[in-house]
Symmetry: C2
């Protein structure tokens, strides 16, 4: 019995590190969810600093970038591919109509639930395989261009904008 | 010759992932250095948003947290341990005298040069070993509490504050 327990707790170093990276992603998501729960829809319409992006733009931007992980990781189509145009290519306050804060909150939750589902099913070999924006040829020379590397960078990206979104609290 | 070349380029999955994590740290450092180069000492005395931390506080804070990696990773004493009191325990604008922006730029560079030196010498086993804020007993049960995990979290932490510091640009 003891042996089995020990075995189930033991991961290879690679498995352990991948779990750490997924956990770091989840921590950022949890923090983001807490900040979103603390902000009203009206709060999200304010700029994070004078003349800078509004909260709603950052929520749309992060949702668009996360949604894009689905096709990038070969996990199917994005749920809301139209967000990539609105919140990545187009800057904030350019006169284009955006989804409402309530809609974006829903999209954010759905995209992250979908990603969480896939991330927990992915095996170490999946994480170390190439993503869809690199060719087989380039990947053979640059094996760091794998899905796990994208996850590390996207976690940092989310943290970067979370540091901005949090400025809307207690204002 | 070809075999040797191939061998030198081939890493184990664990080595590859550790290199990716160090690279992600370096990318954040490079971005931070570029932002610092673009900001004057006067810029750093402004608040990132009305009523929020000033740039100088964030530079001190990030330097203090990075400096603390030295003792945490058993790499010797911190270069500027006094910063931990000033920029972690004490909030900004509390009337305490801080080092100047010029001094903090110097400390930041020195701390990061020292860390870069150590990080490149560390082997996979070093990265997966426990850090100094966890006991042997707890580490045996929670092997994810290793140095690499701290690096992943500190990279996110740096990215979080970089997202704030960048708001001082073009203001």
């Amino acid at each position: 019995m003891k042996t089995e327990e020990t075995k189930s707790e033991t991961s290879s170093p690679t498995e352990l590190i991948i779990k750490m990276a997924i956990k770091a992603w989840e921590i950022q998501n949890d923090r983001m969810n807490k900040v979103l729960d603390s902000l009203t829809d009206e709060d999200l319409l304010r700029e994070i600093a004078p003349g800078k992006n509004r909260g709603i733009y950052l929520v749309g931007h992060l949702t668009a970038v996360s949604d894009n992980l689905l096709p990038l990781f070969d996990l199917g189509d994005g749920l809301y591919p139209q967000l990539g145009n609105l919140f990545v290519k187009i800057p904030d306050k350019s006169g284009v109509e955006f989804p409402t804060a309530a809609e974006l909150r829903k999209y954010w939750s759905e995209v992250n639930a979908k990603l969480a589902h896939h991330f927990h099913a992915m095996q170490p070999n999946d994480w170390l395989a190439k993503h869809n924006a690199v060719s087989e040829e380039d990947f053979a020379k640059e094996p760091h261009r794998n899905k796990l590397n994208v996850l590390l960078n996207r976690t940092n990206h989310q943290s970067y904008h979370l540091g901005q979104l949090i400025l809307l609290l207690n204002k």
